[in-house]
């Protein structure tokens, strides 16, 4: 069981991690002006079997032990390294996910790939199979520590509860027009959810949706409440207010549509993205509103 979970985590990591997470940054690069006769000493003193060749910080080639052997075989005329290097270098971009990288190792059969930036093609690191394995092991160790910590916390909450159905209700009070404290509920909820064994991605979606709903209550709602129900399979969030209400819900849902006054916009809100954002974050939402009476927004996210 535990074994199975580890394997899945490795697979997840291969998708989550990018080249920058595992590459070696202090790459030994050889300036293009270097002579072939100087190469042996560089390789030997650094214990490497090849190196990228740079002009300034721009990658222009790569040299391997094989190239060095070829040069020896050809009679060791003291030419510049640029005459012996491989120019058609297969590289990796710094932001590529590891899953692409593994494909490339398979496809080309090379032992190392220089890592470059997308723009400017500057050499920023190097990746070998060894650095990938080190990177994965390190992340796995972190994951394991985090999981153990989480399990401990979750257990300490629920281990003594015996019931056929468990749910936890949380209630937050939202004060109208209070921009200093606004966001406190979303923040409190996010912090609280860390004590349950819930994936960070889901926690983030809950936090963003709650924050948007909370800002709506602060700006338009004349104050109100956020009610949260945590169940083993889902989190339900209800945002209630007794404010001005929404005359045209369909219009309000359109990205970019806003009735916010300019001072709200200057605060960085009221861009008309709130409800659209919420929709993106949650699995289900229902919005009802009566002008002059208030708004009732119910959202649920599956765990």
């Amino acid at each position: 069981m535990a074994e199975e979970k580890r394997v899945t985590r490795v697979q997840e990591l291969i998708y989550e991690l990018t080249v920058s997470d595992v590459m070696k940054e202090d790459v030994i690069a050889i300036p293009v002006q270097t002579k072939m006769s100087e190469l042996r000493e560089t390789l030997r003193s650094n214990h490497i079997s090849g190196a990228p060749i740079v002009d300034g910080d721009k990658l222009i080639g790569i040299i391997s032990l094989q190239d060095f052997i070829d040069w020896l075989a050809e009679g060791q005329s003291d030419c510049s390294i640029s005459e012996m290097m491989t120019v058609d270098v297969k590289t990796l971009y710094i932001d590529e996910p590891l899953v692409n990288v593994i494909d490339k190792f398979d496809k080309y059969g090379f032992g190392r790939f220089p890592v470059i930036t997308r723009r400017g093609e500057r050499l920023v690191g190097i990746l070998t199979k060894g650095t990938i394995v080190e990177g994965l092991l390190e992340k796995l160790a972190i994951t394991r520590r985090e999981e153990e910590e989480l399990r401990y916390r979750t257990n300490s909450i629920f281990e003594n509860i015996i019931a056929d159905k468990i749910n936890m209700n949380l209630q937050y009070t939202i004060v109208a027009q209070d921009f200093q404290r606004a966001g406190g509920s979303a923040s409190g909820l996010k912090k609280t959810l860390k004590y349950f064994n819930i994936h960070p991605r889901i926690v983030r979606r809950v936090a963003v949706a709650t924050y948007e709903a909370e800002m709506n209550i602060v700006i338009y709602g004349n104050g109100g409440e956020i009610l949260v129900k945590i169940e083993p399979h889902q989190i339900e969030i209800v945002a209630l207010d007794s404010g001005q209400g929404i005359p045209d819900i369909e219009k309000a849902m359109q990205p970019g549509y806003s009735t916010a006054p300019s001072w709200i916009r200057e605060m960085g809100f009221g861009a008309g993205m709130g409800l659209a954002n919420i929709k993106k974050c949650v699995d289900e939402m229902s919005l009802t509103s009566t002008v002059g009476e208030g708004t009732h927004l119910k959202m649920s996210i599956n765990i």
């Binding site: 932001d95 923040s187 963003v208 709650t210 960085g268 954002n277």
Partner: protein, 120 residues
């Protein structure tokens, strides 16, 4: 890109989180409207903005933004600093305009949110 490097490129002052400059950010987002930040930003970003109110830190907190850099010489009020310390968000401040800040970082190789793989 390490925060340390971003600080150097933007000649920024560290306001909160001087011990966290070795943290790595994956991408940047330049925006003054928090809803758009929430809609488009991915976790592990740095937010460049001209807004200094505490809601920037809230936005960072809920969307897993690691650091905020305030631009055009704006300095955050104490509420913002306090909240950032509490929530472990690094705050930087630069005299550069948002425009220069984006331009310099982009050209130093920091990707934007649309270029950076899938959301996490």
């Amino acid at each position: 890109m390490k925060l340390e490097k971003i600080k150097d490129i933007l000649q920024a002052e560290v306001i909160v989180g001087a011990d966290d400059l070795q943290k790595e950010v994956k991408m940047a987002c330049g925006c003054d409207l928090m809803s758009d930040v929430l809609a488009f930003v991915k976790s592990g970003s740095i937010l460049l903005t001209g807004l200094v109110n505490p809601q920037c830190v809230r936005t960072a907190e809920v969307s897993d933004i690691i650091a905020i850099c305030f631009v055009r010489g704006k300095k955050p009020p104490n509420e913002t600093k306090k909240l950032a310390e509490e929530k472990n968000i690094v705050l930087l401040a630069t005299d550069l305009l948002l425009y220069e800040s984006c331009g310099e970082l982009y050209n130093a190789g920091l990707p934007g949110c649309s270029e950076y793989g899938e959301d996490f």
